[in-house]
């Protein structure tokens, strides 16, 4: 049996690495993203690597009014979905957000509201289907607000809380909801950052995602040491935390 997989934000580096692993499993892939030319390349690559099907179409996640019709097309093609991976996102310029309401709202739109819109539609489909997995890439940044990137953190945190509720709601319907919280990942999105030992490669993250989907995990910190780091970060008393330069 070929699995039916939907990837939203398919041009992101983590999504691309995950697509390759699904391609090796001969999955049927439906890829959504903004850049059609790039999607075409990714789909061709997936087919050569073994994907049974690799179809794609354009989706700008900030155009909410298109969500329903695009997802309808997906379900027309695949009827049921085994796994949905939502991977789109941007990394906001925190300083720019602080100076502009418009930029802040735009980042919240891209990183939180768009995901919630898509999840609302997809959740109902999977509830009816009574099977499948919804996996969403949030971030360790969503675990606690820090001065260096709290706009991003707030958006990702909103997604994480939404997923908790969704998991609770869909539990009786056998729908698995996975919240993926990567730490620092070496991708084009983070090209400007100085890399250190905490940084991971997208291929590593992709492997852990497929593994967590297989094991029906609720939350995945990836690489796994982030679970420890974030445990500490979450438990530092606010009186102290507010004085830290994080």
């Amino acid at each position: 049996m070929h699995k039916n997989i939907l990837i939203i934000g398919a041009t992101s580096a983590i999504a691309q690495a995950t697509i390759r692993l699904y391609a090796e499993q001969n999955a049927n892939l439906y890829l959504l993203g903004r850049n059609l030319e790039q999607l075409e390349t990714i789909a061709a690559d997936a087919k050569i690597r073994g994907a049974n099907q690799a179809v794609f179409s354009a989706l700008d996640v900030t155009e909410y009014e298109t969500h329903e019709s695009v997802l309808n097309e997906v379900f027309e093609k695949f009827i049921t979905l085994d796994t949905i991976l939502i991977a789109h996102g941007t990394l906001p310029d925190q300083a720019a957000c602080e100076q502009s309401v418009a930029v802040t709202l735009q980042e919240l739109n891209t990183n939180a509201l768009s995901t919630i819109s898509l999840l609302t539609l997809l959740a109902n489909r999977l509830q009816t289907q009574q099977s499948g997995c919804i996996a969403v890439i949030s971030s360790v940044a969503g675990d606690r607000g820090r001065q260096s990137n709290y706009v991003y953190g707030a958006a990702k945190g909103m997604v994480s809380i939404f997923l908790q509720g969704l998991r609770n709601r869909l539990m009786p319907y056998h729908v698995h909801v996975l919240d993926i919280k990567p730490g620092f990942v070496d991708t084009p999105m983070t090209a400007e950052f100085k890399k250190g030992p905490l940084w991971a490669q997208p291929e590593q993250i992709a492997k852990s995602i497929i593994n967590a989907i297989g094991k029906r995990k609720n939350t995945l910190y990836t690489p796994v040491f982030w679970a420890g780091i974030m445990f500490i970060i979450r438990h530092v008393p606010e009186v102290i935390f507010k004085r830290l330069k994080l």
Partner: protein, 447 residues
């Protein structure tokens, strides 16, 4: 971050650019032209497996994310892919389908773009030429940002300059090339033990119809044993010849997990340890001739299973010295050079000898008909003086050095031994590459 070639000399501090798609490459080239760094050089970088300074510059564009397969024709075996695709990835996907690389160097951790820029050769050069001989075409982004399709017939001069051109004509974005059909992932290997250099060269001649051949030389043996070798010959094993228990016979290899975690202290590699290793390696084989069936990975990529093996040479790095001498002067020239090395006691762990077939028309491709020898030397304060002496012997015999391994040759040595460098420059000038695409190597060589 600190970056170097595989030889870990020289090192520079730089953050490479990592375009996620072609339009990003275009804007990076345009931005570089307008910046103050504009005249100081930009070059593409793949997996950083060239040894010296050819993939180092003030602006580096890595092809890490330009790594997609674009099309594959199951009938003809023609693969079209982006330049950042690695040979390892190609083997992983295509060996199970019954296809192999037409030409491969001694590591699978090179990109297609790097293989073209170095015009790499393999153990089958005497029959099949270098990598560019199997190219159908390539797409090159030139200084203007325009993408040109180049082949033996389209933009021919640009093609001749780009294959073996060390990235100095533009950014190679895509390529199509002919893969080789195989029945199994195994190689039928025959190893001959020779007593000296003359015997090794005779055997190369005798087995010139064998697809793959390469010799490992004990470079510290002297006198009558100078150049004693293990000559390894190989053919792709046919399905019916496979030993039992190999299943379908098209399995890919697992990448080695062994790794050299730290720089070895300088004392680890010395003339005694190298001599002991060479002796042991040579005497590992007892008979005159042995045969075995071996997976392609240990046959082609013996060192890939030891990650970061370049750290064996300590923190100062090493030079891989690879030269070629024309066939007519092979025995005499190699004897002279090997004697000089043995005398200096600068042994190399691995000294690899290979007979090249005819060269090609590319302006800077390394191979010419004759013999090529590659040796690793740990860098110390007197190494470069010693290598300059070797250079002059190589030049005396009308030989030359492989640019992909080079980190230190002089401009004069280069220009004397690569007579087509002026034509190369003419083509670069024609496409505006001269002042735009430059590496530390091209600046050192006066290109």
């Amino acid at each position: 971050m600190k970056l170097s070639g595989w030889g870990r000399y020289p090192q520079i501090e730089i953050t490479p650019l990592k375009p996620a798609h072609t339009p990003a490459v275009q804007s990076m080239i345009a931005a570089q032209a307008n910046s103050s760094l504009g005249l100081s050089g930009l070059v593409a970088r793949g997996l950083g497996r060239s040894y010296g300074d050819s993939a180092l510059a003030n602006t580096l564009i890595t092809t890490q994310y330009l790594d997609h397969f674009l099309a594959f024709d199951e009938e003809t075996g023609i693969l079209h892919c982006a330049s950042g695709v690695s040979f390892a990835e190609i083997l992983k996907v295509f060996v199970p389908k019954g296809w192999f690389l037409p030409v491969t160097p001694g590591t699978q951790f090179v990109t297609v773009g790097g293989a073209i820029a170095s015009d790499v050769h393999g153990k089958n050069h005497h029959l099949d030429g270098s990598f560019s001989a199997h190219l159908i075409n390539l797409k090159l982004m030139v200084a203007s940002g325009e993408i040109l399709e180049c082949s033996a017939t389209q933009h021919r001069e640009l093609f001749l300059a780009t294959c073996g051109g060390m990235g100095l004509t533009g950014i190679i974005l895509e390529a199509s090339f002919q893969m080789l059909a195989i029945e199994s992932a195994y190689i039928q290997e025959t190893t001959w033990k020779t007593h000296n250099l003359a015997e090794t060269l005779v055997l190369f001649d005798e087995f010139q119809k064998t697809t793959y051949s390469v010799a490992w030389i004990d470079c510290l043996s002297t006198g009558k044993q100078l150049g004693r070798s293990l000559l390894m010959l190989g053919e792709h094993a046919k399905k019916e010849d496979l030993a039992e228990g190999l299943g379908e016979g098209l399995q890919t290899a697992k990448t080695g997990k062994l790794s050299i975690p730290i720089d070895m202290p300088n004392a680890v590699l010395n003339s005694h340890s190298v001599k002991a290793f060479n002796s042991l390696y040579y005497n590992k084989i007892r008979q005159k001739q042995t045969q075995r069936q071996v997976h392609y990975a240990p046959f082609f990529y013996p060192l890939d299973s030891l990650q970061n093996w370049n750290r064996l040479y300590g923190k100062n790095g090493f030079i891989q010295y690879q030269f070629v001498l024309p066939k007519s002067s092979g025995l005499e020239g190699l004897t002279k050079i090997l004697s000089k090395i043995a005398e200096s006691k600068r042994g190399s762990f691995l000294a690899v000898l290979k007979a090249f077939g005819k060269g090609n028309d590319n302006y800077l491709s390394f191979p010419v008909e004759g013999y090529t020898l590659a040796l690793d030397f740990k860098i110390d304060s007197t190494l470069f003086t010693f290598l300059n002496e070797l250079d002059s012997i190589v030049l005396d015999y009308s030989g030359r050095l492989y640019l992909t391994k080079d980190a230190r040759m002089s401009e004069a040595t280069f220009k004397q031994s690569y007579p087509l460098w002026e034509q190369f420059q003419k083509v670069r000038a024609q496409y505006g590459a001269e002042k735009r695409f430059n590496s530390l190597q091209s600046q050192r060589l006066g290109l």
